[in-house]
């Protein structure tokens, strides 16, 4: 065992209840434990291990940090509640924030004391920022914002949002006129309305309406009209987290089937196919990591979302169908099944992923 993983193992021994492994399904969604574990991880430097001490890390190499992440996912450590806070907002603040912004905001988001929402999608526009219509006009020391956002996860529980707005309507390219503002969700003129969801397990989305909301100019994150870069570089930090979690999720969905001695041949074949998907996600993910370490930007990165999300959906289908009518008696199976329908939609649908692969990787012509 590497020293790092040994140390992480000791940390988990202290931070988690003794029977955690045995009762992981119970503990994993325990809100109190989740909060405590995030704080403990932050203090001990295991939250973002490759960051510096004081920011939830301990300056590990990116390889060691990945090892910790993989190990945490595999042992199913308690889920971070406000995952986009740690995974997207914190890297954005660290990369683009002013000293004052970092001083005020980084520690609370990393500890989970203050939650964040991502204000990106809008009604009628896809996840593509280029078509966003929410406007911000400068009035002295403030931006005055009008518009609305949709599919905003956890907006109701959050204190802050990274709000992407159009600050230059006349920019030559639509991407160029966008800025990122830090929105205090308690500001006057902000109206947050939850969108009822198709199942408990589905992400809790909201619509956010913005009516003459005044945001101090100091709350600009990154350069004026540089929002597109802020968005893409913030999201980049999440990329390994996504496939690591995907790998574990797929494998876990079919785990109960591995305990059943009575599976027929065709269920076993399908099970093997899903195991192949899961391991292909892992080893392709590792190929992209090692590729980046040797200074390349590997094409195979682009299959991870498509393969991972389609496989996750296939795995929950298998989990439900391979149990026959008894599968209808276990509510969690259906929750997982419905949730997995979103996997091929959120963050770029499978259709969009196939376009990306076809055009960016294979070099086929665009057609839009």
């Amino acid at each position: 065992m590497s020293d790092v993983l040994a140390a992480y193992d000791r940390f988990l021994g202290e931070a988690l209840p003794e029977d955690y492994a045995a009762r992981v399904d119970h503990y994993r969604h325990d809100d109190h434990l989740r909060t405590e574990f995030q704080v403990a991880s932050f203090e001990a430097g295991w939250l973002v291990p490759d960051w510096e001490p004081g920011l939830g890390g301990q300056g590990l190499s990116s390889g060691d940090a990945l090892a910790v992440r993989v190990e945490g996912a595999r042992r199913r450590v308690p889920k971070i509640h406000n995952v986009q806070g740690v995974g997207v907002v914190a890297p954005g603040l660290r990369r683009f924030g002013t000293p004052a912004q970092q001083d005020r905001l980084l520690r609370p988001v990393l500890r989970g004391d203050e939650w964040w929402a991502l204000g990106m999608s809008e009604p009628g526009s896809g996840s593509d920022l280029a078509s966003l219509r929410t406007q911000a006009r400068r009035e002295g020391d403030v931006f005055v914002v009008n518009g609305s956002k949709i599919w905003t996860t956890q907006a109701r529980e959050s204190r802050w949002a990274t709000l992407y707005v159009r600050t230059d309507p006349d920019a030559a390219r639509p991407h160029a006129g966008i800025s990122c503002l830090i929105l205090d969700l308690r500001s006057p003129g902000v109206d947050v309305r939850p969108i009822p969801r198709a199942a408990q397990s589905v992400d809790a989305f909201c619509e956010v309406f913005l009516d003459d909301v005044r945001i101090p100019a100091d709350n600009l994150l990154g350069p004026l009209n540089g929002g597109w870069r802020v968005a893409s570089e913030s999201l980049e930090h999440e990329r390994d987290m996504i496939w690591v979690n995907n790998w574990v999720e797929i494998a876990q969905a079919v785990e109960p089937a591995l305990r059943r001695p009575d599976l027929g041949d065709d269920a076993l074949t399908e099970l093997g196919r899903i195991l192949a998907d899961a391991e292909a996600v892992r080893f392709t993910g590792l190929r992209t990591v090692f590729g980046r370490l040797s200074g390349r930007d590997p094409d195979e990165f682009f299959i991870l979302k498509l393969l991972g999300s389609e496989a996750a959906q296939r795995a929950t289908r298998f989990a439900m169908e391979s149990t026959g009518v008894d599968g209808l008696l276990d509510a969690q199976l259906m929750e997982d099944r419905v949730e997995s329908l979103g996997a091929t939609i959120y963050g770029g649908t499978s259709e969009v992923q196939r376009n990306i692969i076809g055009e960016r990787v294979l070099g086929l012509p665009r057609d839009r």
């Binding site: 896809g126 969108i195 009822p196 198709a198 589905v202 169908e321 209808l328 008696l329 939609i345 649908t349």
Partner: protein
């Protein structure tokens, strides 16, 4: 594909004329669709998440005599199972939150189960709601749509002979699971609390006994799949992205075309199974095999079509207010009963292999 004279004669296509609705049956199906669509539909299904099933509305279903359509006159019905299948398929869009389909599966099973062993005729009435249970090794019976059933028809496949019996449900329900589709919940019955009357026990071919019920479930799943496709197409015609209607993109267009193939494949097999049942063993394929193929194909079609419906809607498809999840839930709830798609395909291959010898 054996070439004996006996099997050859039955390829005569005219025996399958009932694959296509007569004007009369088409009108009947349209009236069912209009009636149930206006009375129930997605909003009624959604209401079941917060409240019980609208049990009192059964009166209207009974008044229309839907439950006895396609039953022999001796049982109080009229028409053939082809009519029942047309009715059930036409009910698909309405997501009826009452045990209509389960009642039809139960009574069609009785109607085709052969002469009553005790010489008793069995009469049914549209007022009574029924469900079907397959007994294969445990006294805990998992029953589709059984929460409101007054009686349960049991198909016991454990011995060498298949036994069909009926019992009042009364207090045998030990659990009701509403989380998949609260408009069509799963009931768990304790068989030891049932007092059964045997209706038939001379049959040995379980797939033949279950053929009517499989055909009816296939019709239900085909109806759900067809409805989901219809609604996905409508959305693809309205919603625009990158400056054009999303239905113009081959990514969407070709997927919906494949769903259309799946739905028509299921519909053809379901109708063929019903025609084979109605024509009483004179077709060149056994009703047992056709019903297995139909149930398998319809399960595939319904699950794939409702999944595509969610996908075409995008993030909207994951919301409670969009109807997509209601159809998906209905498909998912019905899919595992009387054998998964894989189970049914496999069993059909075994039947064909047996017939082939």
């Amino acid at each position: 594909m054996s070439t004996t004279t006996a099997s050859r004669v039955h390829t005569d296509p005219s025996r399958w004329r009932d694959l296509v609705d007569s004007d009369e049956r088409a009108e009947f199906a349209a009236s069912v669709r209009a009636h149930l669509g206006a009375r129930f539909g997605p909003d009624a299904a959604r209401a079941c998440f917060d409240a019980a099933q609208p049990a009192e509305a059964w009166r209207e279903i009974a008044a229309a005599d839907y439950p006895v359509i396609g039953l022999p006159e001796a049982m109080g019905g009229a028409g053939s199972i082809v009519d029942a299948v047309a009715m059930v398929e036409a009910a698909g869009p309405a997501l009826v939150p009452l045990p209509l389909v389960s009642t039809v599966t139960a009574w069609q099973t009785v109607a085709h189960a052969g002469r009553p062993s005790e010489g008793r005729a069995y009469e049914v009435s549209s007022e009574r709601r029924a469900a079907l249970a397959v007994v294969d090794g445990t006294d805990e019976l998992v029953v589709l749509d059984g929460a409101l059933a007054d009686e349960v028809v049991l198909v016991d496949v454990r011995g060498a002979a298949v036994r069909v019996s009926v019992a009042d449900v009364s207090d045998a329900v030990t659990a009701v699971h509403r989380h998949v589709d609260p408009g069509r919940p799963t009931a768990v019955l304790d068989r030891t609390r049932l007092s059964e009357t045997v209706l038939a026990d001379g049959r040995t071919d379980v797939d033949a006994v279950l053929a009517p019920a499989r055909t009816v479930l296939a019709a239900d799943l085909t109806g759900v799949g067809a409805t989901a496709l219809d609604r996905a197409v409508r959305h693809a015609l309205e919603r625009e992205q990158f400056g054009k209607r999303i239905g113009a993109f081959q990514g969407i267009k070709h997927r919906l075309a494949d769903v259309y193939v799946a739905v028509e494949r299921a519909r053809s097999l379901t109708r063929a199974a019903a025609v084979a049942l109605a024509s009483d063993g004179t077709s060149d394929l056994s009703a047992a095999e056709l019903a297995l193929l139909a149930k398998a194909a319809a399960t595939d079609a319904a699950v794939d079509s409702t999944r595509a419906y969610v996908q075409v809607l995008g993030a909207m498809g994951m919301t409670f207010e969009a109807d997509a999840h209601l159809y998906f839930r209905r498909a998912q709830q019905t899919a595992p009963f009387l054998g998964s798609a894989a189970d049914c395909y496999r069993a059909a291959a075994l039947v064909r292999r047996e017939d082939h010898r």
